[in-house]
């Protein structure tokens, strides 16, 4: 029933129905169906960029993107259109950008977990016991690293609350990759000596907070 409408007309219909409190599923579904092929093309380019992925991933990512577009895309589209006229250009462009981001996010998160794609599962070699043990060890180390980083960010949040000046210097020096006290001092409008002291104090407090948190969370 929507075949005769252009993308923009269909999108306008979605917005009209939404404003009127009517069901938006049918026109939005028709729009997303219309955009399925270009969306998969965009996903394939992201897959190529990361050197991994499969058609099954592409289907899943497309569904995720549709979900995001339905959940918050309409409001976000309006917001971006108002803030950056031209950047979102059309609902289709906006949807494809959501697809792009969903795919990048997926492959970034999966980067360490996914092995390079094997064309044919039959070709996949069986893993030897030592390889399995190594994989388990790698997974355990990854989990420990992730946990350590979680505690680290909690400790840093406490530093921000209790010693904001030290946290600011630490943030600049380490998290924002400045790693130069002269540059830190310039950006914070303090002396180089003070920059050095703040970073040093931040490190001492962070260690103490980390050790406290590890105890509280039973990681000792």
């Amino acid at each position: 029933m929507f075949d005769e409408l252009t993308d923009d007309e269909l999108f306008t219909e979605v917005l009209r129905r939404r404003a009127a409190g009517e069901a938006i599923g049918p026109p939005l579904g028709a729009l997303c169906e219309r955009w399925a092929r270009p969306a998969r093309y965009v996903v394939s380019k992201i897959q190529a960029s990361y050197g991994r992925g499969s058609p099954a991933d592409a289907d899943e990512l497309y569904q995720d993107a549709v979900g995001k577009f339905l959940a918050r895309g309409l409001e976000q589209f309006r917001g971006v259109s108002e803030q950056m006229p031209g950047r979102s250009a059309s609902p289709k462009t906006f949807f494809l950008r959501i697809v792009k981001h969903v795919a990048i996010d997926f492959y970034r998160r999966q980067r360490e977990d996914l092995a390079p794609a094997v064309a044919d599962p039959e070709d996949a070699p069986e893993e030897s016991p030592s390889e399995v043990a190594r994989a388990v060890d790698v997974a355990r180390r990854r989990e420990e690293r992730t946990e350590a980083q979680e505690v680290y960010w909690q400790a840093f949040a406490r530093l921000q609350r209790e010693h904001p000046k030290e946290a600011g210097a630490w943030e600049l020096y380490h998290h924002q990759d400045v790693e130069d006290h002269e540059e830190c001092a310039r950006r914070l409008s303090i002396s180089v000596v003070n920059s050095y002291k703040r970073v040093s104090r931040a490190q001492a407090y962070l260690r103490l907070y980390l050790l406290d948190l590890m105890k509280e969370e039973g990681r000792e």
């Binding site: 803030q83 792009k100 990048i104 380490h174 924002q176 406290d212």
Partner: protein
């Protein structure tokens, strides 16, 4: 040692004189009891015998072990400032205040000890008083469980803590974590801010210090603040401030993962532009749209194309696209069914290699102009075979 010892000797002398101990009787008696090896026990029993049940109960009503927790937490922060502070006079102020926090915990311990001694002389407390005593002791236990593992915070007070520890009777020392725990780990706190090139003999030998340094090692190579999904979106949409964009650039110079994400953004954007350019082309495959022309990157100029539909079936459409002197063939699926196709330029030679594009399968035919090819398309059991010129 002398100053602290003199203080306790003065308390012991008060007991021996049988002086008035109003208010802090239990604490003073306990202070002397817990240091009996040094101070002796003169006057202790007399003081305990003269202490009435009402006075003990009044002490219990006025004290709360819960109130000690904030005092000790504050003392911990103050103690660390003794080591990390810049000004010596200020450091002394922090030291005095922090030691007062530890002293408060120690006096509570003395009162508990004196109460036990008092009960052995007068008989156990009963009823509400017994409940208050139990609550008080259990509260101290909870406090110690929570704060004993944080004893490292008090390391900057170690010279004073060691003196206090050494004045206690041997049997009291292990309980008095506020004076004894980590009392010899002086090198640790200086090391927390800067790891020295070569660790001290203590750091080498002390398993607790080694463990603390190992467990908190993540701060020596702190995780970077990566571009998360939200930041990447704001970066892509141009919603970041100039300063934020500079931070992204600085970060991506050093972080491979985020640099890859930004590269993927660009490649994805190029794909979107390709898709949008296809939309703009007049032809049977393009949908009419009244949308404004999308932004195109400089240099992405489009060449005029000519499209010709060679075949249109229910399941697919075949389009010949001519652009400048070159030609390509599109096989566009029109339903969800899988479409396979082959294009043969020369009989007996392999098919051209298809590419998956935004509009379906695409065959690059090369230079156009009076050339012929053979096309095969299959969808399920339906097969199209035909020749075409380009």
């Amino acid at each position: 040692m002398t100053e602290a010892l003199s203080r306790y000797q003065a308390l012991s002398a008060r007991l021996a004189r049988g002086g008035d101990l109003v208010g802090d009787s239990l604490e003073v008696i306990g202070d002397v009891l817990r240091r009996g090896e040094r101070l002796g026990s003169q006057g202790v029993e007399e003081a305990l015998r003269s202490l009435g049940r009402g006075e003990v109960e009044a002490w219990l009503r006025a004290r709360s072990s819960e109130a000690l927790q904030p005092a000790l937490l504050r003392a911990a922060e103050e103690a660390v400032e003794v080591a990390l502070g810049e000004d010596a006079a200020e450091a002394e102020l922090w030291r005095g205040s922090a030691l007062e926090g530890l002293s408060a915990r120690d006096r509570a311990e003395s009162a508990a000890r004196a109460m036990t001694a008092w009960e052995s002389l007068h008989g156990p407390l009963e009823g509400e008083a017994a409940r208050m005593r139990t609550d008080f002791l259990e509260g101290l236990g909870r406090l110690d469980d929570a704060l004993r593992p944080r004893a490292r915070w008090f390391i900057p007070l170690n010279p004073q803590r060691r003196v206090e520890r050494d004045l206690l009777d041997e049997s009291e020392r292990s309980r008095a974590w506020w004076y004894g725990e980590r009392a010899d780990c002086d090198d640790l706190l200086a090391t927390l801010g800067h790891r020295p090139a070569s660790p001290s003999a203590h750091l080498d030998a002390c398993p607790l210090c080694r463990e603390d340094l190992a467990r908190s090692g993540v701060v020596e190579a702190p995780p970077r603040r990566h571009l998360d999904a939200d930041a990447l979106w704001r970066f892509d949409m141009g919603l970041m401030s100039e300063e934020e964009r500079e931070q992204v650039e600085a970060h991506t110079r050093k972080c491979l993962d985020c640099a890859q994400a930004v590269l993927a953004l660009e490649e994805g954007e190029a794909a979107i532009e390709e898709v949008l350019e296809e939309d703009e082309l007049p032809g049977p495959g393009a949908r009419p749209s009244r949308a404004p022309a999308p932004l195109r990157r400089p240099g992405a100029a489009r060449h005029p194309e000519h499209r010709e539909v060679l075949e249109e079936r229910r399941e697919f459409r075949v389009v010949l696209v001519r652009e400048r002197q070159r030609a390509r063939l599109l096989v566009q699926p029109l339903t969800g069914r899988a479409v396979t196709a082959a294009v043969f330029l020369t009989p007996g030679k392999p098919s051209l290699k298809p590419q998956q594009g935004p509009e379906g399968l695409q065959f690059e035919l090369g230079l156009a102009g009076g050339r012929a090819a053979h096309l095969t398309v299959q969808v399920g059991s339906e097969v199209l075979e035909r020749d075409f010129s380009f």
